[in-house]
Every structure is written in C-alpha cells, then in structure tokens.
Symmetry: C2
Subunit: 391 residues, 2 copies
C-alpha cells in the first residue's frame, strides 16, 4: 500500500481522481428501481398503520453485487494498486515482483487477488486455517498465494508480518487507508450521476408522451434533480466514509446502517457517544458488518460530520428485507446489503425523520447493495427457516 502520508487529501475531488484511475478496471454497475418496493417503503402498499410514520420514499439501488468479484471491494483494491504504481521508487525498488499482502477471508481478499493478477503482480493472502473451503478455493481461483494462520487477530497479524519480512510485499488493509476509502467512494459518484441520468430520461419520456403516466411519478416542486439521501451499510467504514466524501458539498445526506444484534451497531454507538468503539464481537447474519469502525473512516464520518446519522435494524428485519430483494428485485445480494433496505422499510426513527424533513415531496433515497457473495446453502437455510409472509 502506498504510504498514507503520500495519499491525496480526503475530498470529493480526490474521489473523482480515483474514479479516473480505476475506470478501465471496474464496472459501472447498474442502478435499478422498483415501483413495488418504493410503494412498500412509502406505506401505501399494505396501508399505513395508525401511529406509524408514513414517509414518501422513492428508492434507487446501486448494484455492487454486479461488480467484479461480486462486491464494491474491487474499487478500493484496484485503486490501492494504481496508487502504489504512482509511488516514487516502488517500481524501481522491485515493488511489482514483491507484490501485495493482506489478511482477510472475505471480499477484500478476492478483490486484492484480482487486482494484483490484472497487474501481473503476486498477492499473498493470510487466511485463518479454519476458513470455509469455498472461500479458500475462490481466493486461489484469482491466482493468489494463500498462507494459513491461526484465528486470533494476533496470530493473523504475526503471519502477515512474516510474509512482509519474507517477501517484501506491501500490506493493503481492507478499509483503514485513504486510498481504499477514495476507491470505494467512487461508487457514490457514479450513483449520483446515474440517478440524475435516469431522472432526466424519465422526464424526457413524459414530455414526449405529453401526459403524466401513472401515479407516484410527481416531480418534486422546485427542487433539484437527483438523490436526497444515501443509506450505506457500515462495517469497517471504508465504503461509508468514501461515499460520504463523494457527497460532500452536494446537499445529499449520507446515513450509515448497521445490525443491532450483539452490539454490531458499534459505529452508531460511537457516533452518538462521541467515542469510537474499537472492538465488536457479534455473529449477526450480516457477516460483512461484524467489523469495528476504522480510525480514518471515523475521522471522516464523525469528526468531519460527513455522515448525518446511523440507524440499526434487527436480524428479523434484515432477513425480511433480504427476502424482498430476491422476490421483488430478482437480485442476489448478501445479507449485509439488505441492512440499508431494512432501515428504509422498517426503522421507525429513520422513517419519522424522513416524514418530518421531506414532507409532501418525499425523498429520493439511494440504497447501496454492497455485494452478492453468499453461500447458497446458507441462503437456503435462511429462507427455509423464515417462512414466506403473506403479501
């Protein structure tokens, strides 16, 4: 990883520069909508309950499940390597032969392996010996060298340090680095642009037809075109802080979302108490969000107040939202991706806030679907244990 002191400043312009750097390597993933989910979120589907918030929400989904390696992590990994290539002396010092290293058993390991392979440099991935065989196979499938370690963080870090000593490889951490944050933030810039394009296309179509068509398509009176808010999942916070940077100065509010189970809402607790929570031990179904918030993400999210607030949801609500993503949107997403959708649909604090702030016009809310890497066996179990609800 490039020395953080040489990283560009954490600004919206730096996210735009990161986007130019990684453009040839990552997908501009699609943004999708659903009339039925927007209706459901607006409480007009099943009818509003007395005493419950009844906000107007038009939902937009950024599908990073369709990203390379099936998750937004490809953005940060490709950016980290592009930045390394720009670092004075890295090339001359034999950097490309020494390669990169990280410890991870998840999407970041696969993303770094792919980015390294695309650049013809070796990737060393430290994984706990007890990792699931399909995850090990997938990482090896991207051409990485897998080094096994014990399961504690001390053992993993020791094994990683050993790899650095043996090979001279550069460490690429999963989220707590400016280059990773700027890379992940590129999804936020795309999201803003794509929603504006889609809104413009819909308006042109309406003008061509010379009539308004159907309900729920009313334009916001006198307000600008585009998103009003984005809700992103928050684990280590690399992506959430990057998205927050991508929205700086635009007026788009960014919210973090977390599972509440067994204290996985560490970022929310830290944000509200003013002190970062440094350890989490939760077995939430949203397994991408079991990580505590990193130090640099915290500085963006809390100290610079670029995130407007956090909302947490129960395991049951995450599974309900996950089910809707499959049934209504027909997309394969991992449980972590269902967390921001669950906030929009079921978190009464969030919904009351939108009703209060947005009024009659409602809000266009962007939901980040962070990834789609899920074991079909685990998924099968999840859905057969939570019986289908009447629609």
């Amino acid at each position: 990883m490039a020395d953080p002191s040489t990283s560009p400043p954490l600004t919206r312009a730096s996210v735009a520069a990161a986007r130019e750097l990684i453009k040839p390597f990552v997908h501009r993933t699609p943004v999708i909508t659903s009339t039925s989910l927007s209706a459901l979120a607006s409480g007009t589907d099943a009818g509003a309950d007395a005493g419950k918030a009844n906000p107007k929400l038009r939902l937009w989904f950024k599908c990073e499940n369709f990203q390379k390696v099936g998750a937004f992590k490809a953005r940060g990994a490709f950016h980290a390597i592009e930045r390394l290539k720009q670092e004075p002396g890295w090339l001359e010092g034999g950097g490309p032969e020494k390669g990169v290293v990280t410890h991870s058993s998840g999407n970041h390991a696969q993303a770094l392996s792919l980015a390294a392979r695309a650049n013809g440099i070796p990737a060393h991935i430290v994984m706990p010996r007890i990792s699931a065989p399909p995850k090990i196979a997938a990482t090896k499938g991207y051409g990485a060298r897998v080094i096994f370690s014990g399961s504690t963080s001390v053992e993993r870090e020791a094994a990683t340090a050993q790899v650095v000593e043996d090979t001279g490889a550069r460490l690429v951490p999963p989220y707590d680095h400016p280059d990773i944050i700027l890379g992940q933030g590129t999804l936020g810039l795309e999201f803003q642009e794509q929603v504006e394009e889609l809104m413009m296309a819909a308006e042109e179509e309406e003008e061509e037809d010379g009539k308004e068509e159907g309900a729920g398509k009313k334009k916001k009176a006198g307000s600008r075109r585009g998103l009003d808010a984005i809700i992103a999942p928050c684990g280590g916070g690399g992506m959430l802080s990057g998205v927050a940077l991508s929205c700086e100065g635009t007026g788009i509010r960014v919210f973090g979302s977390e599972p509440s189970f067994q204290g996985a809402d560490d970022a929310k607790r830290g944000y509200e108490s003013g002190t970062r929570v440094e350890a989490v031990s939760s077995l939430t179904v949203a397994d991408g969000l079991r990580t505590p918030l990193g130090r640099i993400p915290w500085s963006v999210i809390y100290e610079r107040r670029l995130v407007s607030g956090f909302y947490s949801v129960s395991e049951a609500d995450i599974i309900r939202a996950l089910r809707l993503a499959y049934e209504r949107l027909k997309v394969v997403v991992e449980p972590s991706s269902a967390v921001p959708l669950a906030v929009a649909l079921y978190n009464e604090d969030f919904r009351a806030m939108v009703e209060r702030e947005a009024g009659e016009d409602g809000w266009d809310v962007g939901i980040v679907f962070s990834g789609g890497n899920v074991s079909l066996e685990a998924l099968g179990k999840l859905f057969s244990e939570s019986p289908e609800m009447a629609k």
Copy 2:
C-alpha cells in the same frame, strides 16, 4: 383475445409492430455478460476433457427476470390487450367492461392481471383450488378476480367457459395465439439490438485505448456484428416461436431447450419425429416447461423450420446451471431459465455442433432468462440438497 383471423401475419415485421404497441408498458430488460461463464462454456476454465467437445462460446443473457411481473409473459399479455383494443367493435360492444379471462396458476395469470389493470379492465383468473396460497395472493395483488376450479383440465376449462358465459369476458390463452406469440417475440428483437449496441461500444472503447485489452476479446474475422444464435426455453412454445420469428431472415439460428426428465422434451421429440406431441406429464424442476407445445407455435417452429433444432438436459445439469446463475451472475432466475444455460454448458451434442459449425471464431450465443419467479423456500431446498461443488 382478438379473433386470431384478424391477427397480423406471423412475420418479423409483425413482431416489430407488436414492439411499438407494447413499448410504453414493458421494460427493455438488460442484457448482461460474464467473462467467467463464457470461459467455462468455452472449456478453458477447468481445462478441456479428452474426447469432449471444446467449442468457443461467448454468452449473452437477456434478463426477462427483470421484466414486469418477473417474466417475459408481460409482453404477450400487454400485446393481447392492445390488439383487443384495436379490434373493430370490441370497445363499442362493452369489451372494456366485460374484461378478459384465462386459466393459469403461473406467470401468465399475473401478467394478464397486470395488463388488464393497467388498462382499467377486469381480469378473471381461473385457478385450481389447490394452488399455492402465495400464487393466489400474488394474482389477487394485481387486482384480478380469482375463480377456483378443480384441478383437471376439463374442470378448469368448464369453469373458464362459465366465466365467459357469465361475464362476456374474452379468453386470453397463455401461448397458442398469434398475438401472444408476436408479443413474446419482441424480446428477441431487443436482444439482437442490444448485443449489437454492446459490441459496438466495446469496439469503440478498444479503439480509444489504441490496443487490444486482455484475452478472449478477438473480433470475428470478417463476419457481421451481433448474435450467431439464441437458445430459448420451450414450454408451450409461445416465446420460442416468437423469438424465432424475430430472427427470420437475419441468419441468427434459434434453438429450443427442454428438460429431458419424464418426457418433458416433447417439442424435441415432436420436431425429430415430425409429429407434435400433444400431452406431457412431467414433474421436472423446470416447472414452467411442463406444458406440451401448442399448435400455432408448432407451425412456426416445425412446419416453417424457423427453429434449427432442440436440445434437452438432465435435472442435475439444470440445477448446476441454476447455481452458476446465482453464484456468478448474481441474478434470481427460476429453474426453467437455467435450461438454455445448461444446454450451452453441458449438452455435448450442442457443444460438438458449435465446435463444428463455428470453428476458430466461435459463436456469440444469446441465452434467454425467461423469468425470476421462484419460491425462496423451494430454492433453499434445492440448493441445500445439491451440495456446492468445488470450483
């Protein structure tokens, strides 16, 4: 349904006219690709087995799982109603008040209900009393009146005839009608157009970069741009025959695909023997393809030879292909949609034919993902019973 004698001729031009009629009401669903699935289909992923065919296949997927009501059936249903509206006397004779009727418990019922509601006319849907409650709820959710009947086709037809007598509603059959065939065929026109657009965009990008990038992107020497073939699933044959019409005169070959289980490959057997098979009784996992081929589809597919051949696949291969759609493409499709993908990946006759016909250049093959309506419980069961394979 409009009197078939008043229907436009079954030609590519009529499919184009149908497309104009339904454009405001249906989605132009996306076409997606996957480097890893194309590599797998080309036998370069796991390495070619000795004695096995090793064709070059570049796969393109038309995602009708993202269509309204989650399946291509919306196209035929909206077209049927637009054609009714054009029928002399229908409007004046109180047609819109009398509405439409069909017997179906699947995607066609929901599609017709939606199309009727969008036009403000009543839909009467005859369903077996034993239909799954979520299917009944979904159909009612689209505003249809559901009439229960016994389960045999005699009982269902009697109930339907009774509805026609009571209400004067028009019968809209699921596939054996020119207007339905022309409506479904519109997906074929879009598919051709979209693949050409995507190929053109890729070529422009390569020219901008001023270099060839990565492997497997070689252009076909001297051949035209676009699809070489389309594989579509075949149940009643309304969609397959429509797609075949959309390709007439283009040089694109159209193939039908079916499950082989318990004789569900009725169209294949009929096509090869020269006599249409009129009854099927199979419990294949591809439940949308348990229907025998209709009379009018047969005339297009067999008598006019607009389909070049049929291929069938085992239940195990369908589930393997289904798993890949979820794992690699991250899309929710129903088992019937995995049948054409299973042909491309696992049917040795098909693969040997492509190797023989396409040679070094290979083929660009379009795969029709017909729909995404699947019970998550059934899916969960399917995936937990077929353990994950090593990649």
